[in-house]
Amino acid sequence: MNGIKVSRRDFLRSTGVLGGGLVIGFGMTGCGSEPPPVPHDSVSGAAAPNAFLQITADNQFIFYCPRGEVGQGITTAMATLFGEELDVPPRQFIIKEAGPHPEFGNPEFGGVQSVGGSTSVKAHYLPMRQVGADTRALILAAAAKDLGLLVADLDTKDGHVIAAGEAYPFAKFIHTAMSLPMPIETPLKPSSEFKYIGKSFPRVDALSKATGTAVYGIDVEVDGMEHAVVVRSPVARGTLIDYDDSAALKAPGVRTVVRISNGVAVVADSFWSAKNAAALIEANWDSPELAKLDEASLRDKYQSALNNEVGESAHSYGELELGWEKASHKVAAEYWAPYLAHAPLEPLNAIAYVKEDSAEIWSATQGPQLARRVVARTLDFDDSQVTFHSLQAGGSFGRRLVSSQVREATEISRQTRTPIKLQWSREDDIRTGWYRPASLMRIEAGADEEGNLTAWTAKRVGGNAFAARFETALPGVLPKGVPDNVIDFIAGTAEWVFEGIRVDESSIEGLGDDYVKEAQDIQHVTIDDGLPLLFWRSVGHSYTAFAKESAIDELAHQSAIDPVELRLKNVGDDLRLQKVIEEAAKHYRSMQEAGAYVGFAAHSSFHTRVAQVASVSVEAGKIKVNRVVCVIDCGRAVNPDGVRAQMEGGIVFGLGAALYSTATLTEGKISQSNFHDFQVARMGDAPDIEVVIIDSKEAPTGAGEPGVPPIAPAVANAVFAATGKRLRSLPLSLAMREADLAQESSKPSDVTAAEAFA
């Protein structure tokens, strides 16, 4: 076998695959337990050398992508890693979204099959290639046996084995391969031999998405399918007291109306019929505490907590008193970031078909394994009774981590016993979804005459997305058999236990990072308004970077030190951060010299370093962002144009939130409902964007999210350069709120604010 190492553990047979097959994945299954069959499509004559690949008789390669495609380009990146080592061109794969199976677990999430945290390329850079290399070695071993040659005499090219000048399709050897042990630890290619990694080429799905042929959840149809729309509590987590469905039942096309755990579902012959009839449902809901909140009382509540409550401490070091004594320049400022909806362009949907002892689901989620568990738990089924078909998503940005649409469809179909296609409307999405938590943050910072940071305190008031997520996710991962009330108890207890012991890292991440100070303290005060909270592209960084990078800019102006110099002076030994700042600084200077109003921001997130320069103009009180230069170090860029696209997209996504988006409360209800009042960036808002990728041979780090955090502070800092006005509230507006004006009049400039603090 030419020294190929073999693992018995990975040599698992899957009788569920046509033609039998060797099944290996990322080794999550472990020893001793027989894994369930891998959820492959039945393809006549196809064989599956591992969980990720089916090779058809005519040498087509079907790749089961373990991470969900939500637009980030992961199908292209994974196909690149796999194809590089397997020696199949990435664009030659037929790519499918993998269904739930232990072999598709995400190593960064303890084997849970989930996409998020910009982990996918970082986590799979080596494992995905290893599977490709091992599979290629297996094919070569089989070819050597069939052809009576030595492996050393063989080579591969584009899905073919090359022997004595002849090219044989991989498919020719697949059945022999099935009888051979799976090689492991096959040496990976040196980077000098990369054919695809590090090269830019269009996404594998570009043409299907440009021709309307790409299939999303909303496009799936099942025989006998009925359409459902759910009426939910207008105030989050309100419970249904009673409802009158008499008018709805008389509406055209309506089949039935059923009650589910969080609302009333109208089932009809079409979405249009169901949506119209749902408007006729008269439902009475109880009023949770949240119903007492509107935007003014919410802000008062946060302000009071910031002023009066002592937070939990994290990331504290040094002697703060000493640090303040050494500070010759000080600033203190408060920053606000609102609740936000994710608003992926494809509103949530799911198809559920619940039968007597099985269920079948079609939906796009960020975690199909968790979503399947939710279905099984709802129905009191085993996971094995639930077939889950994963679909690519029309955007997510964190939203599809929660699969409430899957549970709702399941609850409806359990009652109707028909296939139910549940479609959320845009109004459902904006008004009754899950939200990026609102935050009020106060930063106090001091620097000595040379610009060395001597003291830094940051306090954040707001909800904890992770705790909220934990409560929701736990029932999904806990083994079946634990009674619901125990699960609820455990979830509640766990959240309570976290309180007072540790701060939810996702709430404060980034507030105390990037710059080295003599002393710092990060504090957190938890507020639970009762609104469901969820990660939103870049999570805590989406608001902490705004506070941190605004504050550092304020301190620079207060100290009369160049904002870029102040940052560079304090990056410590973070050479990657230093380099992106230095590179971006060149653009900052040249744009400044050309007369533009420019702002600078740098922020690390998801192991990636990003610096951004934004130039703005202000006309008639409206902020226009003209140009953004973005410098990123994400290690080796697997597909540089993919990284570029994620930076461009992250900047525009973040710009929408920086300039327009907000979800506000009126008597506990979300005041916005659609894109006319939940505004997002449009083409006219998109600046010219130049992305510079630092050349790196290091292992890849995240790219999906790190482009978002720096844009809001870069723009706010540019607005200061243009107008002398410091905007500390998102979305940025030169027409200030009355409360901000009042605050402003008590400390009208940065200088007096600092003096007041000193």
Partner: protein, 166 residues
């Protein structure tokens, strides 16, 4: 039954006259390329051509297209015979989640129908009603300008190596 022309072929549908054209085309006629994004004419994901003019079909009642010619993304081009805009979309690697792209391309095609050589400002003005949450605007603009430069009549080279995500 209501009759109109879809992508060059006469069709006859049973949906009620108040049903938005989008749902008739998607669910009754099974052309799934046009998307639902807002249901209020705010995002452009549902854009089709009615007699060559880009139109928001999530708010257009079926009754309004009796006897009219409706073109969807499926009628513009196919993976084996893409329209110059679709080719430019691939060349510029435009799509991310891709959900808005049918509507973006139909709006762009409507623009090029009436103005074959738009300026950058004219492209931006025409595309302002189409939301892309992934933020692909810069590439969309570049692709429209590229397609405009190519012109609409040039024969298109087929890229048969294209993989498809399902």
């Amino acid at each position: 039954m209501i009759n109109f022309t879809l992508n060059g072929s006469p069709v006859s549908v049973a949906s009620t006259p108040d049903t938005p054209l989008l749902w008739v085309v998607r669910d009754e006629l099974k052309n799934k390329g046009s998307k639902y994004g807002c249901g209020a004419g705010l995002c452009g994901a549902c854009t089709m051509h009615v007699n060559g003019v880009a139109t928001r079909t999530c708010v257009l009642p079926l009754a309004a297209v009796v006897g009219q010619e409706v073109t969807t993304i499926e009628g513009l081009g196919t993976p084996t015979n893409p329209h110059p805009l679709q080719k430019a979309w691939v060349e510029h690697n435009v799509p991310q989640c891709g959900y808005c792209q049918s509507g973006q391309i139909m709006t762009a095609a409507g623009l090029l129908n009436s103005n074959p050589n738009p300026s950058e400002q004219e492209v931006t003005a025409a595309m302002e009603g189409n939301i892309c949450r992934c933020g692909c605007y810069g590439r969309i603009k570049d692709a429209v300008l590229t397609a405009s430069a190519i012109g609409n009549s040039e024969p298109v080279v087929v890229d048969s190596a294209e993989a498809d995500v399902q």
